[in-house]
């Protein structure tokens, strides 16, 4: 049985967006085409990456998000996705763990800064 990413990639190669009756991943509208192109260039690919590669990557990212969401729903508070669940799920992966910690810390700092700024404006 071919793996899911392989099938999606193979289908994309064969009929790029042609109308079909099957509910394949490749038939869904592309959500991240533009952003993924910039991202691939940023990560080291050519300035114009191949569309098929971008499609494969998009399918992979969507599958990753889906898997993480399902896992997060099954732990902690059932049926809901909370930040603590996500942090728990990637605890073993140092890069992702550090990244999430940094993002959340920076978000808090920015919120505090914006709040202080707004209060300063309100006072004057």
């Amino acid at each position: 049985m071919a793996e899911e990413e392989d099938e999606a990639g193979f289908d994309d190669d064969m009929d790029d967006g042609a109308g079909g009756a099957d509910g394949n991943h490749g038939k869904r509208k592309r959500l991240f085409s533009k952003e993924l192109r910039c991202m691939m260039y940023g990560f080291g690919d050519d300035q114009n990456p191949y569309t098929e590669s971008v499609d494969i990557l998009e399918d992979l990212v969507i599958e990753f998000v889906t898997e993480m969401t399902h896992k997060a729903m099954s732990i902690g508070r059932q049926g809901r996705v909370q930040v603590e669940d996500i942090v728990f799920l990637i605890r073993k992966d140092p890069r992702k763990f550090a990244r999430v910690k940094d993002l959340l810390t920076m978000n808090e700092e920015l919120k505090r800064a914006r709040k202080a700024f707004d209060e300063a404006n309100y006072g004057s």
Binding site: G9, D12, L36, D45, S53, V61, F64, M68, Q82, I86
Partner: protein, 201 residues
């Protein structure tokens, strides 16, 4: 090419580099923050503490990778750890500035794309909500977009390794991507809950 995005060695510098990149990558936020403003926002906090500590940056790693011992260390010596961390941040900022100032134009373009690119929050939120059926908080969306970007980066880096190993040149082709996925799967870096290991058949 000294492209920071391609640094792959699992060393202190790589981890702290990855950790340092994130504060500046607030392009996901609505407030447009340039890199200068970023270093300034960090500087006031680091300037308040002077360079009294001269220990290695190695301990800083533990906080990122394993939560348990780091929190115990924090309780024992909070002040010392904080000063050390801020000093390490200062060094990191300076090193990054030196590095970025020596980039060629093409490297600068690529670095800018690396920092600025992000997944649209609305699309990620819609995707998560379509799976859960209920609404999710903003922090979840922020966390998920962040790790998705790291995930995409891991795949692209692995695919570039494969491409180089096979003697091809960029742009990456689907066969490189698929081989990269296969390798990451064998290292269990790609979550897969579809396959059940039946131990005793």
């Amino acid at each position: 090419m000294a492209d920071p995005a391609r640094i792959k060695t699992e060393s202190n510098s790589e981890k702290s580099l990855a950790a340092r990149k994130s504060p500046k990558t607030e392009d996901t936020e609505e407030v447009p923050v340039t890199s200068d403003a970023d270093t300034e926002s960090k500087d006031p906090s680091s300037q308040s503490l002077k360079r009294e500590q001269d220990s290695v940056a190695g301990e800083d790693e533990d906080e990122g990778t394993s939560g348990q011992p780091a929190s115990k260390k924090l309780k024992v010596e909070p002040e010392k750890k904080k000063e050390k961390r801020q000093k390490v941040d200062e060094d990191e900022i300076q090193k990054m500035q030196v590095l970025v100032s020596s980039f060629s134009e093409e490297q600068l373009n690529r670095y800018e794309m690396y920092r600025r690119s992000a997944f649209p929050k609305a699309a990620i939120k819609r995707l998560i909500q379509s799976i859960t059926g209920s609404s999710v908080s903003q922090n979840v969306v922020i966390a998920m977009s962040g790790i998705s970007k790291v995930f995409a980066g891991e795949i692209v880096e692995e695919a570039l390794d494969v491409c180089e190993k096979w003697g091809d040149t960029p742009p990456l082709q689907p066969k490189h991507m698929r081989e990269a996925v296969r390798r990451l799967k064998s290292r269990e870096q790609i979550p897969n809950t579809k396959h059940k290991n039946i131990l005793f058949h």
